[in-house]
């Protein structure tokens, strides 16, 4: 697809959890818990606060369509701040400095006085009904020449356990939100910039790693389309797909719009009650419903069933809108007869409503309250179709599709967090911030300075275990030994079922030291580490898996083996090395390093070969 031609514009909003000791506005650890470990729970309702104009924000209003009782799980590692039962503590200095460091890495300008705001969020994910957020820096640059608009320091929301139940362990973990301008023009460019942003963040060595710790929101529009924000893209690899699918969706919606206009299509302003019409229906769903409403979409026939993304039709988009009211879905005549609704029923529906085969009829079946709500949502979405692409916040679906979530927030509903005092960021603070080495730079340095293989260098630089590697080389461990043990051996023994969390950095380094000192053979490392993973000390594990063999003992063993096979050795010369290596190694059972064995063996072979 020619993205330049369709005018693709995309921007990214990246959310990265910070690995600070404590949370952003309380002194709890930034520790994720299993929901089964919760020690208490409580129930709350949230209500959108009325604005000065007597209005309630559209997004908030939509959240309020249902009276929702939220349940929260608490832990021994959470406190009254997460429960919205105590004023927040002052802004976490560690988190602020870290966010400033990141800002500096992007060449941004810090805000002289950081003010913490409350951003209304009443979907239950914030116990207070708002998310605390502060604009920390503005105006950075990206390698593609694009701009980073803002960097905010925010608190993470509570994690949904299921339904309306949330777990407050995650709530309050510091998060940086980095927003780029819509400066990217192809799906691949978006993917690349997202990767770059992530790399810079990880270069600090102070961000959380693992699934869910970083989330991308992507803003996408095409010419004639509208700005769409797709939330919660957790895997970098899907970013490009999301962009592609959204561009496709907007194109299709524009095509549908053009057809609707050319047909002179229109949307009837209110639904019609057709409950009685289906009194004798064979459709289980319709039979069960207290009320069935029909929405008349004149001239929409066929278009409601038109795909906008693979497997998703305009009708699906309408259904998404309707689901906000708590209904399971909708029926539309483009897909009927089906679901137990007969052709006769469709025809009698058309007759009753005075419509014909050019028109599409959408049916919603539910309680009267829900049915009305859902019908009005369908009408709303159908009207948007006449304009093309509505501005929306959408959630990502598997494979890069997306579904309607809520309207884009209008003017952001923010007001000051009066319980937190503003923090001045003076030049002295800013100037003192040291920039961490970028991981890409580090990888290059590893391969040049430490003579690491280029791939290994990159792998270890980007690894979560980088600190262990850095400590290992600081303690003069051979870099390749350290890197390969960290990246390969640990992964292998984990695959074999070892609990590698038992292997502390101290123990790990003790083992490598032993290997370097010849106290254990490199070959014995997996077994030693497996023993340690079972709770053994390093000394114990080495002793068991690699009984100490002194160089003198080794020499004696080798001399004996070679002498016993003197004829063979003389016959084969150096070609005897490989077969004899096996004999020796079997004898010393991993207690000696292969290199040392081979070196000694080589000397002995030379001795015997030459001593005829």
């Amino acid at each position: 697809m020619d993205y330049e031609k369709i005018g693709l514009l995309a921007g990214i909003e990246i959310h990265q959890q910070l690995d600070t000791k404590e949370k952003l506005f309380c002194r709890c650890p930034t520790l994720l818990r299993k929901s089964g470990e919760h020690t208490g729970e409580y129930h709350r309702y949230l209500r959108a606060t009325e604005s000065e104009m007597g209005e309630i924000d559209g997004a908030a209003r939509e959240e309020m369509k249902r009276e929702r009782k939220f349940t929260y799980y608490t832990y021994d590692s959470t406190c009254l701040v997460e429960n919205d039962e105590e004023p927040p503590a002052p802004l976490n200095q560690e988190a602020l400095l870290l966010s400033l460091t990141i800002a500096k890495m992007f060449g941004m300008t810090p805000i002289e006085q950081v003010n913490v705001m409350r951003k209304l969020v009443i979907d239950g994910s914030n116990t207070s009904g708002f998310q605390r957020t502060a604009l920390v820096a503005v105006h950075g640059t990206l390698p593609n020449g694009g701009r980073i608009e803002t960097l905010c320091l925010e608190e993470e929301a509570a994690q949904r356990v299921e339904g309306e139940t949330f777990s407050v362990d995650r709530l309050g973990i510091p998060l940086v939100e980095i927003t780029t301008s819509p400066c990217m023009h192809t799906p691949e460019e978006v993917r690349e910039m997202a990767g770059y942003l992530g790399m810079v963040l990880r270069s600090t060595g102070k961000v959380k790693r693992g699934l869910g710790t970083i989330r991308q929101d992507v803003n996408i529009s095409i010419k004639g389309g509208a700005r769409i924000e797709v939330k919660g893209v957790q895997e970098l690899d899907l970013v490009a797909d999301v962009v592609k699918r959204e561009a496709q969706r907007q194109q299709n919606l524009i095509l549908i719009r053009d057809q609707l206009i050319s047909r002179g299509a229109s949307v009837q302003p209110g639904p019609v009650d057709v409950t009685t019409l289906f009194a004798g229906t064979g459709s289980a769903i319709l039979k069960k419903a207290k009320m069935i409403l029909a929405v008349r979409l004149n001239g929409f026939s066929g278009l409601v069933g038109t795909e906008v993304q693979p497997g998703r039709r305009l009708g699906t988009e309408m259904s998404d809108y309707a689901k906000i009211c708590g209904v399971g879905g909708i029926f539309h005549t483009d897909e009927l007869p089906a679901y137990g609704i007969t052709q006769n029923e469709v025809e009698s529906l058309h007759r009753t409503l005075g419509t014909d085969e050019n028109d599409c009829i959408v049916l919603v079946a539910a309680t009267p309250k829900q049915a009305h709500c859902a019908a009005m949502q369908v009408i709303k979405r159908a009207r948007f179709a006449l304009d093309g692409v509505p501005e929306e916040t959408r959630k990502m679906l598997p494979e890069g599709n997306s579904a309607y979530m809520r309207p884009l927030p209008g003017a952001a509903r923010m007001y000051p967090e009066t319980d937190v005092l503003p923090v001045n960021v003076g030049p002295s603070t800013w100037d003192c911030i040291a920039l961490p080495e970028l991981l890409t730079v580090r990888a290059h340095r590893f391969s040049t300075e430490l003579a690491l293989d280029e791939g290994l260098a990159r792998q270890i630089a980007f690894s979560e275990r980088l600190p262990l590697f850095e400590r290992s080389i600081a303690e003069t461990i051979n870099p390749t030994l350290a890197a390969s043990t960290i990246l390969m051996t640990l992964k292998e023994i984990q695959r074999d079922g070892a609990d590698i969390s038992m292997i502390s950095d101290d123990l790990f380094i003790e083992v490598l030291h032993a290997v370097e000192l010849g106290k254990a053979a490199k070959e014995a490392i997996p077994e030693i580490l497996k023993m340690i993973a079972k709770g053994a000390g390093s000394g114990e594990a080495i002793k068991k898996c690699a009984p100490a063999v002194s160089r003198d003992q080794l020499h004696a063993i080798i001399t004996k083996i070679v002498d016993e096979r003197a004829v063979f050795v003389r016959e084969k010369g150096n070609a005897a090395l490989a077969p004899l290596m096996g004999v020796v190694m079997a004898e010393v059972r991993g207690s000696s390093d292969g290199k040392v064995v081979s070196e000694l063996l080589r000397k002995e072979i030379a001795r015997v070969s030459t001593s005829r």
Binding site: M53, G54, I111, V114
Partner: protein
């Protein structure tokens, strides 16, 4: 640079970007600007350029529809916020008070009653004074006399129990007088204001007939407790369920969201008395918490001190060193009442020597009256009764449930 006013539109050139925004205020030498994105930033004044001063927009008057078939509740506000509105332009939070505002902020209220409102004060409750208690009692009495089915008093939570106790002593009420506040500010979607307001309005039209405090029973939004005004104490700085009945169970509960009311048999029932008011107070009374090593010089001078409530240790003790000083106060006419800083349980000065010494010099045992309530009671008794013997009798008896004759198990 010209002077900026709150609300002025400005253009801010910062960090290489031009931002449009609204000037809010100056703080710590920085101009606080609300950007159009909603964020506030504090920047050097010199980066901001005045654009325009918008004409203030009048908020549309939206009248609240009240249902005349419902009972009439009177809401008296002293500064506790039960409804507030955020100005998203400036981020300012304003508390709202007329009936229309309240009904729009808490729509559920309109199904319970119709309302008339009086804004008596707008102060933080730590700034309350005995004089304000008197005005409040007078206002409450007026509303009762004017036929209100019940009275709700919105009040800051810090000293709500002092005010509610004062109104209890001053006003004989045949209808519920409900004090209500919120522990978490009304400008947050999670505020306890909505549930507390709905539950207190429900309590105010219930068969109750006394002064009570209605607040969250637990941290959950599932029910409010109705506390007797003279037996309740704020026992947490910030939690929703800070208010706790001490020494007795609550008078009842209001479930949420069903708004079902359950009153205990011990709650005074609606219509048990005729309305009356006796607002006099003798403010020359003091409350002192005793602690080890506290010097007798901490005692106020006798001349100006008509009444003294001691919050003694344990069963009601002070150090032996204090006895002669208290005796000379008592001899000069200061009425001294003993309560306990344990808060729970009953003063009994017959058991230990220092206690018996206190009884000898005429200190009155406050039974299980809370120290703070004892102070209010002492002011009220000295203000309304001049005969020393009758004062002692009143101070030793339960006038309005502020002390109990027997201490329940389980509390």
């Amino acid at each position: 640079m010209e002077q900026l006013q709150t609300g002025d539109r400005v253009n801010c050139n910062y960090g290489g970007t031009l931002f449009n925004g609204t000037y809010i205020t100056d703080r710590d030498g920085k101009a606080v600007i609300k950007l159009d994105s909603g964020y506030n930033i504090g920047v050097g004044r010199e980066t901001c350029r005045f654009l325009e001063r918008p004409v203030p927009v009048r908020r549309p008057e939206i009248s609240a529809v009240q249902d005349d078939s419902l009972p009439c509740l009177s809401i008296i506000s002293t500064g506790g916020t039960i409804a507030s509105r955020i100005d998203y332009r400036t981020g300012a939070v304003t508390s709202q008070f007329d009936a229309g505002d309240i009904l729009r902020a808490i729509p559920g209220l309109s199904g319970i009653a119709r309302y008339r409102t009086t804004q008596l004060y707008t102060i933080l409750s730590e700034n309350m004074t005995p004089a304000i208690w008197q005005e409040l009692a007078t206002a409450v009495y007026k509303e009762i006399n004017d036929g209100a089915t019940g009275v709700m008093v919105t009040h800051g939570t810090d000293t709500m129990t002092f005010s509610s106790a004062a109104v209890s002593f001053m006003v004989d009420t045949p209808v519920p007088v409900i004090f209500v506040g919120s522990q978490r500010s009304a400008d947050r979607p999670s505020s306890d204001n909505t549930m507390n307001a709905l539950c207190s309005a429900t309590a105010a039209v219930s068969p109750l007939g006394e002064v009570a405090v209605v607040m969250h029973e637990s941290t959950s939004d599932d029910r409010c407790a109705i506390h007797r005004a003279t037996r309740v104490r704020k026992m947490h700085t910030s939690r929703r369920d800070a208010f706790q009945s001490i020494g007795i169970p609550p008078l009842g509960y209001v479930d949420y969201p069903s708004l079902d009311v359950n009153l205990s048999p011990e709650a005074v029932k609606r219509g048990s008395c005729e309305p009356a008011i006796r607002p006099a107070l003798d403010e020359s009374c003091r409350l002192l918490y005793f602690y080890p090593g506290m010097p007798p010089s901490a005692l106020p001078d006798a001349g100006t001190l008509h009444g003294l409530v001691l919050a003694g240790t344990g069963l009601g003790h002070v150090s032996t060193e204090w006895i002669p000083f208290l005796k000379s106060l008592a001899d000069e006419g200061t009425v001294i009442m003993m309560t306990s800083q344990c808060l729970n349980g009953r003063v009994c000065d017959r058991v230990y020597d220092t206690g018996r010494d206190l009884l000898k010099i005429g200190v009155i045992e406050g039974a299980d009256t809370l120290p703070e309530v004892a102070l209010v009671k002492l002011m009220w008794v000295l203000g309304n009764e001049k005969d020393p013997d009758k004062q002692r009798l009143l101070l030793s008896s339960s006038l309005i449930g502020e002390c109990t004759r027997r201490s329940r198990h389980g509390l």
